[in-house]
Symmetry: C2
């Protein structure tokens, strides 16, 4: 049988999330890596796969190309339902999707490499200004996220109860990404506790950047 292919990059937090989802589902997959700093995601061959020229993109076993990390996680959850990445009830699913999107829409898109490059090119942001930008958008979301998770009785060992959901994958990937800019975590004990719990799960640990074929 054809194995799915994940187009990604070892250090990309959106690639990390999707690797974690694939591992949790027990799906064997091949990786094709695109060195983002060298701009390989804009190579002609890859643009034929994903015209947006971004990673990740999942090529499923039937040949369908699925870009966008949250769409990939939702797809995997539909085609391989166990273990679920969303709770069963609509209210719980909404809560998990909201938490996930707080990170995937309100932190990552502002802090990925193309945007950090753009503020350098357009506005002359130096290393310090770039790090300040990164940390600012993390804090803008981590503050309310900490509050929401710390004060909800729906929070358990993980973001939603005691089972891993896509919110946890978004959270732990972001926290790994934060290390590049030394984001202080002292104000977010709940987020840190959940990330630590996630990292004890072998399927999640195996998805970390340092274990990937393109790790530097």
């Amino acid at each position: 049988m054809t194995r799915p292919i994940l187009h990604g990059y070892f250090r990309s937090s959106t690639s990390i999330r999707t690797r974690m989802a694939l591992n949790l589902k027990g799906i064997e997959y091949d990786q094709v890596t695109h060195h983002l700093r060298k701009g390989e995601q804009k190579d002609e061959a890859y643009l034929k796969v994903n015209p947006q020229g971004l990673v990740p993109a999942l090529v499923w076993t039937d040949g369908q190309v699925i870009p966008q990390s949250m769409a990939i996680m939702e797809f995997l959850d539909e085609v391989v339902p166990q273990p679920p990445l969303l709770p069963a009830d609509a209210g719980g699913r909404a809560r998990v999707r909201s938490l996930t999107q707080m990170i995937c829409c309100d932190i990552h898109p502002l802090n990925n490499m193309r945007v950090l490059k753009a503020i350098g090119t357009r506005f002359g942001a130096d290393d310090e200004a770039t790090a300040a930008w990164f940390r600012y958008w993390v804090a803008e979301t981590f503050r309310p996220l900490e509050q929401m998770l710390a004060h909800s009785d729906q929070t358990g060992r993980f973001c939603h109860g005691d089972e891993i959901t896509m919110a946890d994958l978004a959270l732990v990937s972001q926290i790994i990404n934060n290390r590049r800019f030394d984001v202080p975590m002292a104000a977010y004990p709940t987020l840190q506790r959940i990330a630590d719990a996630c990292l004890e799960v072998p399927a999640i640990e195996r998805a970390l950047p340092q274990h990937q074929p393109d790790a530097e």
Copy 2:
């Protein structure tokens, strides 16, 4: 019965999407508006509803607060299944979610008011530089989006076949938002055609900024 409450702002494209979804589902709702230019979304009372201090947030009939526009659309599609905002098959659902997220993750988060303010405050971006930033991120996604929609036999009257999906709501909201910065649309005939088709639908038309209670 308690009616759901949508916290929003007439001109916010994320609020527009969720109003369209509510209207398409035939759900009667009340609006509470927060004047984003005046910073009302950071008022203490609203932070108790949504600690993130962003719009939209939906307060459902049972009191659950759901922030994040895509989470709201997914929730509405689960609790009021007709008419569906996603196709029935996993592959189609993945395609629609990918298209939706190309807009909701890769355009809007970079171009919303808090970010346009931030590039002004941090980097001194003037009106012209701000408009250039806005148009750049629209073009970075609209170019591949046009290509993907124009060359797929899954595209119909709307982004995915002949029924409206959440991808259409994201697209038409973005195109309305673009008007503020005179984004040229000549290179995107398919996107414009789909947006025009959407605007013929009364439930969508009623969600436009000019018909809202807080319209200026």
